[in-house]
Homo-oligomer: 226 residues x 2
């Protein structure tokens, strides 16, 4: 490698014994076939699992939808790029000539992919528990500075704001089924956003409000709104 990786490993909280693996994790595909793409696939998956568990434990009352939303916030590219900068990964990257000349070591996608690849490499070398400890240390600040779940806007509000900001018609909710005894009713609701070209979504729950929130959550997912 072009320079000593001691500081990088210190920041990662992991000293690599397999130096070739570390090198591979830092190698962009522009620099050859033994690059970090497969490690990135692995690291992305491990990261998703670790963050999911951590959120599950930290937010015992959060719904699945909120947990998913918090997770995408933590593992999205912007977040990984922040971590790449904290690790100062750019200077260790191994890039092809073209990428190097065009500033690839500063490109967000290359930086964030390298973070995932490093996590994949740590996982391969030291297993789940060690990799989890590195991930939690790297993400500690982000995990503790997440907005309180209670303050995150609910799905219906976010869907409405999303459509309004694009001058689209507001979504319409309709109850399509009510069943169960009076003390344990169950609602099915449909959400139609007629102004955007996506299918209607449905939601279910023990109250009309809960069913609407789920339908809105699914509409947001379809629209790929974070």
């Amino acid at each position: 490698m072009s320079k000593s990786t001691g500081l990088l490993e210190k920041r990662l909280g992991h000293e690599f014994s397999d130096r070739a693996l570390l090198q591979q994790a830092l190698t962009h595909r522009s620099a050859g076939n033994r690059n970090n793409e497969r490690l990135e696939f692995l690291g992305d998956a491990v990261l998703g699992g670790v963050i999911a568990e951590e959120l599950y434990r930290r937010y015992p009352a959060a719904s699945e939808g909120k947990l998913s939303r918090l997770r995408s916030r933590l593992v999205r590219r912007e977040s990984l790029t922040d971590i790449a900068h904290a690790l100062d990964i750019g200077q260790y990257l191994i890039l092809g000539i073209g990428e190097r000349r065009s500033g690839g070591h500063r490109r967000d996608s290359i930086l964030s992919d390298a973070v995932e690849a490093l996590l994949g490499a740590i996982y391969l070398e030291s297993g789940f528990t060690a990799c989890k400890a590195c991930i939690l240390a790297l993400f500690e600040v982000k995990l503790t500075s997440l907005p309180e779940v209670a303050f995150l806007k609910d799905a219906k509000t976010r869907l409405q704001e999303y459509l309004q900001s694009r001058q689209k018609a507001l979504p319409e909710y309709s109850v399509t089924r009510v069943s169960g005894e009076a003390h344990a009713q169950f609602f099915k609701v449909t959400c139609v956003a007629s102004d955007v070209e996506v299918p209607a979504t449905s939601g279910e729950g023990g109250s009309r409000r809960q069913a609407e929130q789920q339908a809105a959550e699914r509409m947001l997912a379809q629209l790929q709104v974070d």
Copy 2:
């Protein structure tokens, strides 16, 4: 719980010591607030991580794109529903009255969600290694019967077939950058599918063919073609 879960636990390869947790994993949201949605979120994440690692190890030469494709094949709903049937989960499900009357214990989405929730519960109770062992045992047949990676059609072929089957114009590829020395060239390619309403995609690689494959892969992802 309405019936003994001994056989289910045997099939899962895990005996629950926390009976309330097992009950929660089997409880659909229609049956109350203490249901399996959060466990499903957790199980989905752990499953994704375990399958990613297993594919990484089984297919040392497969590209990231191929690994992703194999993984979505394994963890998609149809696949999880097969496993739900093998476990005979339906008879153990705890459903609200409405869902029960309308045949919810046979619904694919409810069955596949319960598989993920059970995996999440095993993970919580016994940790990563134990959960991984259960997952690999449950998925063994599917893992060994995956099509040989070499036989999976490449991205350009699949994109072409997809568009042809829908009477759409074929995609067009163009090289937008070539850089690097003669012995280590680097290509950037754009893929335009003018007949479907999605943005152009780009791909990179050490050869024109490789760059085109990546651009096609990304186009397929955009079109949500498996």
